[in-house]
């Protein structure tokens, strides 16, 4: 007898196996599919997808145009950290638009930087990975470089999970005060996920920097140099290489967190500032600046820190100061610079003929500014003038006394006698606790609290009332300045600390600056009838420190309409409210038009009601229901398919069991 061989018998025992395998497969499939779906739902829900898409887009765009290096008129431009800068250049985009012929005869260009600001993990001091705020996926952020009279466009996309704002420190922003950046003063914070364009003309040479001016954000990394090249600089022929060196204190914890949890709290009643964890040279440590022998470097020193001033010196090398805060000064040779937060010094440094030795250079915290100096705090950071990369890198020598350049005595190249003031503002600095137990800082007993509507926007909307300081609120410390008046700011420091004060939109004459008082109990207070030392041609700059319990007198001409912030540049003190607002020529300001995206940033901040509950079937409900129905019908189709599939005849199996025919394996054996 011949029986066709049957390969399969779905008998009862098989069912167990079928079931077991099925269950295993089912579990795996459920997990995989559910995981995928959940991911999808969450992605859509949190708009992560869209922001990912945005960043990918800007990345692609930034890679799209590899730009020529800027500063074509200065081919010897070199940079101390070339490798990271290469990446920075990749991330830039320069547009060459119809330019204006500037006074110097150079063709003014438009320089555009697309900055996607977001979190980047970095380890600047080699001790601790932490999220830093970077640009286009890189940290540190790119150095902005342009020539004088160029137009700079910074196209910001905020990919942080928090708002931000950029301030271009030292830029006069003539007729573009709304591009200045401080939140609450000239703009609303840039909301997470949105776009914001800074667009201004740079008509000033020198060394600047840009940083976040939102909350205590910039010490988290959003800070970088802003260098303006000037072919007509007075010392143009005195150097070979143009480069920069930044110094900064550095915190391991996010500074807004420190501010909220360790600083401005009931449990810090003395208002002691958080102690930095480390110091950085060019945003790194063990920095080896490779130099050529017998070369003069134009070295732009910038303190981008949050709190401490720093002493900077180069062993066995003198430096000649030629520019401070964008103001050219008569060359002044010194062996040590004292640079407060936000100050800049441009120095000429001539290297030795011999390449046999590497020389340490030091940046050292002014520890007087720290309430306590922890034992493990490395408040000195050493770098090396590296003549020979394979040579030894000696330790820095110990020094006994802090002799350093007093910037008060620098003389600007463009000489101005002290102005005669038309108006004077006298404020006294103090620090005290308020009823919430938190230690605040005051100008004349008022601590600055940022208004909801930026002061500049209040100027725009207040018509003739804009000249009334009270409309700007009781806590904005606002002063109205008349156009072209000479304004004098007298600042008496009733606090036993050093404070670097910064005025936006201007450089000011430092007409007087007293020594510190002899004891903490006494104050040296300005007395117009009994002036102190006044130089023939006072120093001008945009950030100047005041000594403990002393005073200074600053004068400037109100020739730059705008809303300008005047504040202590110690980030912690700004958080404590050590700031005031100058509204300069408000009626002139009202002639301007503020760009739409600046208003849009404010609209995003408007508190609005939540959207109504989507009752009934909206798109997602219909989609869900339709897909569920489809799934059900397709599933039933599968069942139908299974149900209708050929049923196997088991007749011969019965026969086998009944012993009427031989078993299958006998058949196969006989084959």
């Amino acid at each position: 007898m011949h029986f066709p061989r049957k390969r399969s018998r779905l008998l009862y025992d098989d069912h167990l196996a079928v079931t077991a395998v099925t269950i295993a497969v089912v579990i795996v499939v459920i997990v995989v599919i559910a995981g995928l779906l959940v991911c999808c739902v969450f992605c859509i829900g949190t708009s992560t997808l869209s922001s990912l898409f945005l960043s990918a887009l800007s990345f692609r765009r930034s890679l799209g145009t590899v730009s020529p290096e800027l500063g074509l008129d200065r081919p010897n431009l070199s940079d101390p950290n070339r490798a990271p800068l290469f990446a920075v250049f990749l991330a830039m985009r320069f547009s060459f638009l119809a330019g204006l012929v500037a006074a110097s005869g150079a063709l003014a260009k438009t320089v555009q930087y697309d900055m996607s600001i977001g979190w980047v993990t970095a380890n600047p001091d080699g001790e601790y990975d932490r999220p830093t705020i970077g640009v286009n996926g890189e940290w540190p952020p790119p150095v902005i470089k342009c020539n004088i009279h160029d137009r700079v466009i910074v196209n910001v996309t905020n990919n942080l999970d928090e708002p931000t704002a950029l301030h271009f420190h030292g830029m006069f922003q003539n007729t573009t005060s709304f591009m200045d950046g401080p939140v609450g003063v000239t703009q609303c914070p840039i909301p997470s996920g949105s776009n914001f364009i800074y667009n201004f003309t740079v008509n000033q040479p020198g060394t600047y920097w840009y940083h976040s001016h939102y909350s205590a954000q910039y010490p988290d990394g959003l800070r970088a140099p802003f260098l303006v090249y000037d072919p007509d600089e007075p010392f143009a022929d005195d150097y070979d290489v143009d480069t920069y060196l930044t110094v900064a204190d550095y915190y391991h914890d996010p500074t807004p967190w420190l501010s909220a949890n360790k600083f401005l709290t009931l449990f810090n009643p003395t208002g002691s500032e958080p102690i930095p964890d480390n110091g950085l040279l060019n945003e790194t440590q063990n920095y080896k600046w490779i130099v050529e022998p017998n070369t003069t470097y134009k070295l732009r020193l910038i303190n981008m820190g949050a709190l401490v001033s720093q002493y900077i010196w180069f062993e066995e090398h003198d430096v000649t100061v030629v520019e401070v805060d964008g103001v050219y000064v008569e060359p002044y040779t010194t062996d040590r610079i004292y640079i407060t937060v936000a100050q800049r010094y441009t120095v000429l440094l001539k290297t030795k003929n011999s390449t046999s030795t590497n020389y340490p250079f030091m940046t050292s915290f002014d520890t007087d500014m720290l309430d306590t100096v922890p034992d493990d705090l490395m408040w000195n950071v050493t770098g090396w003038l590296t003549y020979d990369e394979d040579g030894e890198f000696p330790d820095a020598a110990v020094i006994d006394e802090w002799v350093f350049l007093d910037d008060f005595n620098l003389v600007p190249v463009e000489k101005e006698a002290p102005f005669e003031p038309d108006t004077s503002i006298t404020v006294s600095v103090s620090m005290n606790n308020l009823n919430d137990g938190v230690n605040y800082a005051f100008f004349n007993d008022i601590t600055y609290v940022a208004p909801k509507v930026p002061t500049l926007f209040s100027v725009m909307s207040s018509g003739n009332q804009s000249t009334d300081a009270t409309i700007y609120g009781s806590n904005t410390n606002t002063f109205i300045l008349d156009h072209m008046d000479v304004v004098e700011i007298v600042l008496n420091n009733a606090d036993p600390g050093k404070h670097p004060f910064h005025l936006h939109g201007h450089v000011f004459q430092v007409v007087e600056r007293s020594e510190a008082s002899a004891s903490d109990e006494e104050f040296v207070v300005y007395d117009a009838s009994n002036p102190g030392t006044i130089n023939e041609y006072p120093m001008r700059r945009d950030t100047v420190y005041i000594r403990p319990n002393g005073y200074f007198v600053l004068r400037f001409r109100a020739d730059n309409p705008g809303v300008w912030f005047f504040h202590c540049h110690i980030e912690w003190h700004l958080q404590q409210g050590l700031a005031l607002t100058l509204v300069e020529a408000p009626l002139e300001i009202q002639k301007w038009t503020i760009p739409e995206d600046h208003y849009a940033a404010c609209k995003a901040g408007e508190p609005v009601q939540p959207v109504p509950i989507a009752a009934g079937f909206k798109t997602k409900g219909v989609v869900a229901l339709v897909f569920s129905c489809i799934a059900a019908f397709v599933g039933m189709a599968f069942i139908l398919w299974y149900g209708m599939s050929e049923l196997k005849n088991t007749e011969h199996e019965v026969a086998q069991v009944m012993g009427e025919i031989p078993l299958d394996d006998e058949l196969s054996d006989s084959k």
Binding site: R7, S8, R9, L10, L11, Y12, D13, D14, H15, A17, V18, T19, V21, T22, V25, V26, V29, I30, I33, A34, L37, V41, I613, A614, A615, G616, K618, K620, G621, V622, A624, L625, F627, S628, A631, A632, V634, G635, M636, F638, I639, L640, W641, Y642, G643, M644, S645, L647, K648, T650, E651, E653, V654, Q656, V657, M658, G659, L663, D665, E666
Partner: protein, 363 residues
């Protein structure tokens, strides 16, 4: 309606009844074919048929007793235990019900094969019984084989049904039982009779397919509902009181999870929608979880069906060819060994014992 007619109970009772009915019909068919010399003497045939029915009836009544006790105990003891965290239990029970329904569902489509399967099994059983041991028990089982087989089968299927019914309806009120149980019994018997009569097989197959589709609709709904219950449990925990039972309006559900919500048609409380809820898992307030769960369930069903079809066509599961073949070989070897043993016994019996007078059961 859902309160008096638990759909899943109906299907389970129907399926188990059908299986029992098939066994009985197979037995009757065997008798008709003359197995056990039943056709030699109409008296013997009648007696054997009677055996079959008596065995089935005894099995069935024992089942009813067990089932009644089981469910009675269940409701007198169990109901209060879960009252405090109702949602999480409803979710867990719904999952149990889904698993039970899903596992037995596809088997229903193979009921006609089930018939074949039982033919093999019964043939095996009778073959064995012919050679059952001596003594009192051996004699008894040989004499009443035609009653014992349906008795055991009916009892087994019945107990299975009780366990399943208990499983799928843990959350249902007691009054939701009787109607679907009776309906399931009637439907099962009807279809079983039709199959015995050898009625239009294709029509029965269509009927089974439709029934299975409904079964899986119920299963998908239950699964979706289980996820919904778990999420609702979370929501209730956050809120501190069961707001979902206070109405259908805003505030009764978690807006963050909502995919759709209509302030009506509540599948738990509103008449007609409860049928919708029982059959299709309708909810008036769908969540991401319940929608995704519903669709995943169907995807899993599709994959399972594909796998089983693959196995039936090719004889092995995808990527498991050698494993399946090994299992097959083992089974054939086992069956072969059994047959050889039986043949050996038979020969021994024939050589040592004269044929017994009452060898009505032997072949």
């Amino acid at each position: 309606m859902a309160q008096v007619f638990e759909v899943s109970v109906f299907f389970i009772v129907f399926r188990e009844t059908l299986e029992a009915a098939i066994i009985i019909s197979v037995l009757l068919a065997f008798l008709k074919q003359g197995i056990g010399k039943s056709m030699d003497d109409p008296a013997i045939y009648k007696r054997l048929v009677k055996h079959v029915w008596i065995g089935s009836a005894i099995g069935f009544f024992i089942c009813l007793a067990i089932g009644g006790a089981f469910i009675g105990t269940w409701y007198s003891l169990g109901r209060d235990i879960w009252g405090s965290s109702e949602d999480i239990w409803e979710g867990a029970f719904s999952i149990v019900a889904t698993v039970i329904i899903s596992v037995m569902g596809l088997a229903m489509l193979r009921l006609n094969k089930l018939k074949e399967k039982w033919r093999v099994k019964i043939a095996e059983a009778m073959e064995q019984r012919n050679h059952a041991g001596k003594g009192m028990f051996g004699r008894f089982s040989r004499k009443y084989a035609m009653a014992l087989l349906p008795f055991i089968t009916v009892l087994r299927e019945g107990v299975e049904a009780i366990v399943f019914v208990g499983g799928v309806s843990l959350t249902a009120p007691a009054k939701a039982f009787p109607l679907p149980v009776v309906c399931g019994l009637l439907a099962g018997c009807t279809v079983g009779y039709l199959m015995y009569k050898g009625g239009d097989f294709v029509k029965i197959q269509y009927f089974l397919i439709i029934a299975t589709c409904f079964l899986y609709l119920v299963g998908a709904g239950l699964f979706s509902k289980a996820v919904w219950y778990f999420q609702d449990n979370n929501w209730v925990k956050f809120v501190g009181s069961d707001v979902s039972e206070e109405g259908s309006g805003a505030g009764s559900y978690d807006v963050r999870q909502s995919v759709w919500h209509v302030n009506c048609c509540n599948g738990e409380t509103d008449g007609g929608w409860m049928i919708f809820n029982a059959l299709f898992g309708w909810v008036n307030s769908a969540t991401y979880g319940s929608v995704i769960g519903y669709n995943c369930y169907w995807i899993v069903v599709m994959i399972t069906v594909s796998l089983m079809l693959f196995k039936e066509k090719k004889g092995y599961f995808p990527f498991l060819k050698s494993w399946t073949e090994k299992q097959e070989a083992k089974k054939i070897a086992k069956r072969r060994a059994k047959m050889e043993r039986l043949q050996a016994e038979q020969q021994a019996e024939m050589s040592f014992e004269p044929k017994t007078v009452e060898s009505a059961d032997s072949v």
